[in-house]
């Protein structure tokens, strides 16, 4: 592959856009600048393929356009009468097979490398929700950290009420943080429909399939912020569930873990206490806005028939335990996913309180985190 790679590399240099891209500008004509070994291999393989295809293309269409220009009736061309040539036909069957073998070899090596998720330094489970990502740090430094990561681009920017920021649609509230130079194994699953976790600079795209776990891996070689999108159509807000990964030094990562732990400990202590109605309503409105409003809408009217209204709903106005059960465990065969994994007891309590006391619903009842905890233990 030595010569081919050199040809590929020199062709790349001839393309000024590719050179500009190497200096860190966002990708424009080519794959994004790779920051992992795998992405690098894919990038080079793509360049090589492109060069081979271009050479064949120029050859075949050189012949065709020669004929188009020179073998024209208007130029007095008289048609020959040949219509078979076994040697030529065998040649143009066998030679492409050989070229394909040459292409398959590097690709095979990369496929095998991509599938080797063994000996990871860090394992993170990503869960796709309609329409956000949840992350659980399962093993390695930071074990136990959980975060929910949703789009942070304000709605006004999308609807044209405000100027669009630099990272429009590629920014989230809680980014994933990983240490540089460490092998990170990603476990992928989903809560409702199929999503796909994709960070182009890492060369990782893996579908997140509800009820199953798949994996992939990356080892980022350069600190920085890398952005991607959900790649599998997952419903209305498919375009609005980006992925943001911060690759940081080992020290910064340790600091982030410590900070996160501290916050989590404080929050846990806070959760267990008795909450006032006002507190629950404020927190509930917040949770409803980030988690529930996408389907059930901010006005509680939903988008029937798939997403039923909560305003005046029998479930919301009925027994508390029933509603807690649905929020925690979802409703099979409907779009209502289980949120017990993604939300804390206080979040669930607050959001249920909020739905029972908003729009036309006036039950006046508050749900406490303890009740949610009891609901969890039941099943």
């Amino acid at each position: 592959m030595g010569l081919a790679a050199r040809i590929a590399a020199s062709t790349l240099l001839l393309v000024p856009a590719a050179a500009a891209q190497a200096q860190g500008a966002p990708a424009r004509y080519n794959l994004q600048t790779p920051v992992t070994g795998l992405a690098e291999q894919i990038h080079d393989m793509h360049t090589l393929m492109l060069v081979i295809c271009l050479v064949i293309f120029v050859g075949v269409f050189g012949v065709m356009f020669w004929a188009v220009i020179h073998h024209r009736r208007s130029r007095g061309a008289v048609a020959a009468n040949f219509h078979e040539n076994t040697t030529v036909e065998i040649a143009w069957t066998v030679i492409p097979v050989l070229i394909l073998l040459g292409m398959a070899w590097p690709a095979t090596k990369t496929v095998i490398a991509m599938k080797d998720t063994s000996e990871a330094d860090l394992t993170i489970k990503a869960t796709g929700y309609q329409w956000k990502w949840g992350y659980d740090y399962l093993q390695g430094e930071g074990e136990g950290i959980r975060l929910l990561s949703s789009l942070s681009t304000p709605r006004e920017q999308i609807e044209g009420g405000a100027a669009k920021g630099e990272n429009y649609l590629l920014e989230v509230d809680n980014p994933v943080v990983v240490p540089v130079g460490k092998k990170v194994r990603m476990l992928l699953t989903a809560n409702d429909v199929i999503h796909s976790w994709w960070v182009p600079a890492f060369g990782v795209k893996q579908d997140a399939i509800p009820g199953f776990i798949r994996d992939g891996w990356f080892r980022a070689d350069k600190e920085g912020v890398y952005r991607g999108n959900c790649a599998e159509l997952c419903g209305r807000d498919h375009a609005f569930m980006p992925i943001e990964v911060h690759v940081v030094s080992a020290e910064k990562y340790a600091a982030w873990v410590a900070e996160h732990r501290e916050k989590a400990a404080g929050a846990a202590a806070d959760e267990a206490r008795e909450w006032s109605m006002a507190e629950l309503m404020t927190r509930g409105e917040q949770v409803f806005g980030t988690i529930c409003a996408a389907c059930h809408q901010a006005n509680g009217k939903g988008l029937p028939p798939t997403f039923p209204p909560l305003d005046g709903s029998q479930v919301v106005l009925g027994d508390k335990a029933g509603q807690i059960d649905i929020v925690l465990h979802g409703r099979p065969n409907t779009a209502m996913a289980p949120f017990g994994g993604a939300l804390s007891d206080a979040d669930v309590a607050a959001v249920i309180t909020y739905t029972r006391n908003s729009w036309g619903n006036h039950t006046g009842e508050a749900v406490q985190p303890a009740e949610v905890k009891a609901g969890r233990n039941k099943s």
Binding site: R28, Y29, N30, Q32, L38, I42, M45, H46, M49, C53, F57, V60, F61, V63, A67, H71, R72, R73, A77, V78, A79, A80, H83, N85, V88, P96, V97, M103, A104, A107, V111, M114, Q157, G160, K164, N167, L169, V193, I194, P200, K205, Q206, I209, P210, G211, F212, R227, N229, A231, E232, L233, R236, H238, A239, F240, P304, P305, T306, P332, N333
Partner: protein, 526 residues
């Protein structure tokens, strides 16, 4: 209307009813072919309006024209309408008109079933398009209707499922008709290996249809029962698997791709020799290549699913098998170029379209090869690169070949020559705007723009704007075709029985326009 007592001795007198009843009850392959072609063009225009709405929304970042729910309905319905409503019926229309004329048969083998195959389509189209107006709107799960998203959809999904059932039924009946016609009704002396290549490609396509349409019907029926009857085929909580849907769908879906391109290869293989005034190079190898492509199409389906996380061995197998398809496809392109080599070429509209087809379709072939490489596909799967790739093979492939065929056979169908000037204008506008629309999508996909999104990050702005401009240009260019056809049907320069001097085949031995009944006495092929 006064009753007319038919003369029992006058067998050849034509008693078909007139007006609407003629079209409702006709069993004539030419009438049915015409209806298929008109139907597919109407669907092509409605799918086109959806595409232009999509492009209008994508002209700039932000949401301006439509909301995301409706955007997803549009992308889904654009795909379904174009695949099942426009491209497939158009090829069946060509088959109806041309196969009996090309093999010297008096009509299709099952003339009444032929009528039924066509008349199933309008109700299916009404179900499909009507689903926009039911509560919740049309299905928005993508044309592939992946579970569990499709299980979440509203009533529009059920409409789409029934529409697919009906269209599948129509396709299967049409395919059986074509197989039986070709196998049983060839004129004496028309050996299989003497058949025009268009008939060969359609024969193989018809077998593909019979094999895979029931698979699609099964897949969508499983969605239907998952939706309403408590089954869990695609629900892990009930022991099912969402990925199983993809396996079943693509077992249909990949052969489907060739169902839409093989007849196009056939049309182009008729036209290139006619305007090169030289026999088709490698006729036998063309037949074998077509058959190889068809057989390979059954064993490559999971290359649409590299990102689902198959085991390494699975990825490698599907990658190798897919790459292999490049060989017979390459053989076809080489054969066409060799046919043109040292010919006596002229570029009337059919030849322009056919040459354009080879050029632009081959670009789609190359990007297909790049997509076949599993690691590269991981990066470009579900991005605009794939959108660019399949529009290069479906628009520049299937659609361009359909136009080539239309210009080639319009004299036979109408008895008038289509306007040379307008035909050329249509070609050049389409070619330029097609590339302006779809070429930048390669860059968008490589740089990381996912497909099926109504809004995008700012670095994708300029190429999206360019693609939108191209799309409107391309859409408007198709009105030129409408003008050409209407003009040609109404009048114009009368066409000779054989209006293209290099054309070969039985269809050119009957007058233009082809009389209502042809080859009542089978011709003898030497």
């Amino acid at each position: 209307m006064a009753a007319v007592i038919p003369d029992p001795l006058d067998h050849h007198h034509h008693h078909a009813p007139s007006g609407l009843m003629r079209w409702l009850t006709t069993t004539n392959h030419k009438d049915i072919g015409t209806m298929y072609l008109i139907f597919s063009f109407v669907m092509f225009l409605s799918g086109g309006v959806m595409a232009l709405t999509i492009r209008a929304e994508l002209f700039q970042p932000g949401l301006q024209v439509v909301q995301p729910e409706f955007f997803n309905q549009l992308t889904t319905m654009h795909g379904l309408v174009m695949v099942f409503g426009a491209i497939m019926p158009a090829f069946v229309g060509f088959a109806n008109w041309q196969i009996p004329l090309m093999i010297g048969a008096s009509d299709m083998a099952f003339a009444r079933m032929n009528n039924w195959s066509f008349w199933l389509l309008p109700p299916a189209a009404i179900l499909l398009l009507g689903s926009f107006f039911v509560p919740g709107g049309a299905t928005a799960a993508g044309w592939t209707l992946y579970a569990p998203l499709s299980v979440q959809m509203g009533m529009g999904m059920d409409f789409a499922i029934f529409a697919i059932h009906i269209m599948g039924l129509s396709s299967i009946m049409g395919a059986i008709n074509i197989v039986v016609t070709i196998l049983n009704m060839r004129a004496p002396g028309m050996a299989m290996m003497k058949m025009p290549l268009f008939c060969w490609t359609w024969l193989i396509t018809a077998y593909l249809l019979i094999a895979v349409m029931p698979v699609l019907a099964g897949a969508v029926t499983m969605i239907l029962t998952d939706r309403h009857f408590g089954t869990s085929f695609f629900n892990a909580a009930g022991g099912g698997d969402p990925v199983m849907y993809q396996h079943i769908f693509w077992f249909f879906g990949h052969p489907e791709v060739y169902i839409m391109i093989l007849p196009a290869f056939g049309i182009v293989s008729q036209i290139i020799p006619a305007f090169a005034r030289k026999p088709l190079f490698g006729y036998a190898s063309m037949v074998y290549a077509t058959a190889s492509i068809a057989i390979l199409s059954f064993v490559v389906w999971a290359h649409h699913m590299f990102a689902t996380g198959m085991p390494a061995v699975g990825q490698l197998y599907f990658m190798y098998a897919t790459m292999l398809i490049a060989v017979p496809t390459g053989v076809k392109v080489f054969n066409w170029v060799a046919t043109m080599w040292r010919g006596s070429l002229s570029f009337e509209p059919p030849m322009l379209w056919a040459t354009g087809f080879i050029f632009v379709f081959t670009i789609g072939g190359f990007t297909g090869l790049i997509c076949a490489i599993a690691p590269i596909d991981i990066q470009i799967h579900d991005t605009y690169y794939v959108v660019a790739h399949f529009h290069y093979v479906l628009v520049a492939g299937s659609l361009f070949a359909l136009f080539a065929g239309a210009y080639y056979w319009l004299p036979k169908w109408t008895g008038h020559m289509p306007s040379d000037r307008l035909g050329k204008l249509h070609f050049w506008c389409s070619l330029v705007f097609f590339n302006v629309t779809f070429f930048p999508m390669h860059f968008l996909g490589l740089a990381g723009m996912p497909r099926r999104i109504p809004d995008y990050a700012l670095q994708f702005t300029d190429f999206n704007a360019l693609a939108t401009i191209g799309a409107f240009g391309f859409g408007l260019s198709q009105l030129i075709f409408l003008a050409v056809v209407v003009k040609c049907a109404r009048g114009g320069k009368p066409a000779a029985a054989k209006p293209w001097d290099g054309a070969e085949g039985l269809e050119w031995t009957v007058p233009s326009p082809a009389p209502y009944h042809t080859f009542e006495e089978a011709p003898l092929v030497k």
